[in-house]
């Protein structure tokens, strides 16, 4: 039965010892430890959160990067295309210009040739007239007085020639 009855002496010591242990541990032991554990848990939670955020940011940045690269490539293509277009433009324009120029030169040349021809014809005509006159002189010197009808004929023929030339 003594097993089931609390003993006053032991109880006295138990209360003292437990009180001392409790005071020491409650003041210098457990609060320190639990506070530190709490602190570390918060830190770990926080770190995990930050890591997750960083991860998200990184993946966002990777996406952004890919997007930027794609954009740059597109830009590059566009610029190249534009450059090719511009080149083609310039070339075709130059060609056109050259053709125009050539045409103009040809025209000028033709005009000048025409003018030259005209002047040459005129020259020829005057020469012919002169020649005719000289021929006529010679004819006249020999035969002027004799045959006035021949002179008329020469004149008439010269006129015909010049008029037919002008008609062209």
């Amino acid at each position: 039965m003594s097993l089931l009855l609390p003993d006053s002496g032991l109880l006295f010591w138990m209360v003292i010892i437990f009180a001392i242990v409790f005071v020491i541990l409650a003041r210098y032991g457990f609060p320190v430890i639990t506070k530190m554990l709490e602190k570390r848990r918060d830190y770990i939670d926080n770190s995990l959160r930050l890591a997750r955020e960083a991860d998200e940011k990184l993946s966002r940045m990777t996406q952004e990067q890919a997007r930027m690269i794609a954009q740059a490539r597109e830009e590059q293509n566009r610029i190249l295309r534009e450059a090719a277009q511009a080149r083609d433009n310039i070339v075709s324009k130059a060609k056109e210009q050259a053709q125009d120029e050539a045409r103009k030169i040809l025209e000028e040349a033709r005009v000048r040739i025409e003018a030259e021809k005209e002047s040459a014809l005129r020259e020829i005509r005057s020469q012919v007239a002169l020649l005719s006159v000289k021929v006529a002189e010679k004819v006249i010197r020999q035969n002027l007085s004799t045959d006035k009808a021949q002179m008329d004929l020469v004149n008439k023929m010269l006129d015909e020639v010049s008029s037919s030339k002008r008609g062209n």
Binding site: S2, L3, L4, L5, P6, D7, S8, G9, L10, L11, F12, W13, M14, V15, I17, F18, I20, V21, F22, I24, L25, A26, Y28, G29, F30, P31, V32, I33, T34, M36, L37, K39, R40, Y43
Partner: protein, 369 residues
């Protein structure tokens, strides 16, 4: 898996043989008292083994710490006796009271109400107990384990003071205790007590480690362990009483309303009040008895298993040898079981204390909203 099955089968075999061993002895040794018949039976009459004396000597308290016998001499640590008798205060070593010696009118009672306690004879010739605050075996064991506990926990907290927890992983004692502290603090105390748990955490953690270390020290079979501290009802009474005080002194008005004016039909109220008031006391009472009975039974069982060796040694070499093997195996099994029980009982005591505190601080659902 095969490995595991092999172990299980060995365990089962051990259990069966152990049960057979107990059945064979017939008397049911754990009961203690019956075992006297075994030692007193004619078979073993030539040299008695006082089984009851051995077991009760180990699980009880005593004025000196008997470690072992070397030949005829017993190796005993005398402990201070502090007594206030009718003639005033007395303080001396317990070695003066050895073998029934009388010192300053005080002696250890051999029989009767105060068997094993220090008594004096009053004027009418009766044995009376003086005020006795001797440092007994249990008190010394309590002091030793308390010193170990305080050292361990302070070493742990010192590590946390000296180191930056955000940069270093715990080492040594801190690494050993941290998971246990975290488990009790987060899984038991925080969950069971609820909001405002931080106020109770130091007490509940102290209780857990106090019980755990005393349980573990009790399993160690030699000095400074082996004392049956948490299997002593005085210790469990003190612990349960503190929980009782904490539960009832830190409570709120809803707790008292639930006890004295529960929401039941009027004709039920008187009965319910009686039941609730009774419940106030049965909860810590159950705490006290559970820890006491578990640890004491564990000590008893291990002692019984060991004593079987000495009892059966008288029955011849074959039986004695076989039973010794069985006893040793069963003793190993019991020791492992006690390790588990040591933890479980500390855990259960802490958890139930936390639950009682948590229940007494609960608010009704409608008030929370």
């Amino acid at each position: 898996m095969k490995y595991f099955l092999k172990h299980i089968s060995v365990l089962v075999m051990m259990l069966v043989t152990a049960a057979a061993a107990f059945a064979g002895n017939g008397s049911g040794l754990p009961a203690g008292a019956d075992s006297v018949h075994v030692s007193a039976s004619p078979d073993a009459a030539d040299s008695d083994i006082d089984v009851q004396g051995i077991i009760f000597g180990h699980i009880g308290d005593s004025y000196e710490w008997h470690i072992t016998d070397i030949g005829d001499k017993s190796l005993t640590i005398p402990l201070p006796v502090i007594v206030r008798s009718s003639t005033g205060w007395h303080c001396f070593l317990s070695s003066r009271l050895e073998d029934g010696a009388v010192h300053e009118g005080l002696f250890i009672s051999r029989s009767g109400k105060y068997e094993g306690k220090i008594v004096e004879i009053d004027a009418s010739g009766n044995e009376v107990r003086p005020l006795d605050i001797s440092v007994t075996k249990n008190v010394l064991a309590l002091m030793i384990s308390s010193v170990i506990l305080v050292t361990l926990i302070l070493c742990c907290s010192r590590w946390y003071r000296k180191h930056d927890v955000l940069r270093e992983a715990p080492r040594g004692v801190a690494a050993l205790l941290e998971p246990v502290i975290a488990m009790i603090n987060d899984d038991v105390i925080k969950d069971a007590v609820g909001p405002g748990y931080a106020k109770f955490a130091p007490y509940l953690l102290t209780v857990f480690f106090f019980i755990l270390i005393n349980n573990l020290m009790g399993i160690v079979p030699f000095f400074p362990g082996g004392a049956n501290i948490t299997g002593n009802i005085t210790i469990t009474f003190a612990l349960a009483f503190v929980t009782f005080l904490l539960t009832n002194l830190t409570t709120n008005k809803y707790y008292w309303k639930d006890i004295f004016c529960p929401e039941v039909p009027v004709w039920l109220k008187p009965i319910m009040v009686v039941i609730e008031v009774f419940g106030m006391f049965t909860k810590p009472f159950a705490l006290m008895l559970r820890l006491f009975a578990n640890i004491m039974a564990g000590h008893c069982l291990i002692l019984c298993v060991v004593v079987i060796i000495f009892i059966t040694a008288k029955l011849g070499a074959a039986i004695g040898g076989a039973m010794t093997v069985v006893s040793v195996f069963f003793g190993i099994f019991m020791d492992c079981l006690e390790l588990l029980v040591a933890f479980i009982q500390a855990y259960v005591f802490t958890m139930l204390s936390a639950v009682f505190i948590g229940l007494s601080r609960q608010r009704p659902e409608k008030d929370k909203a």
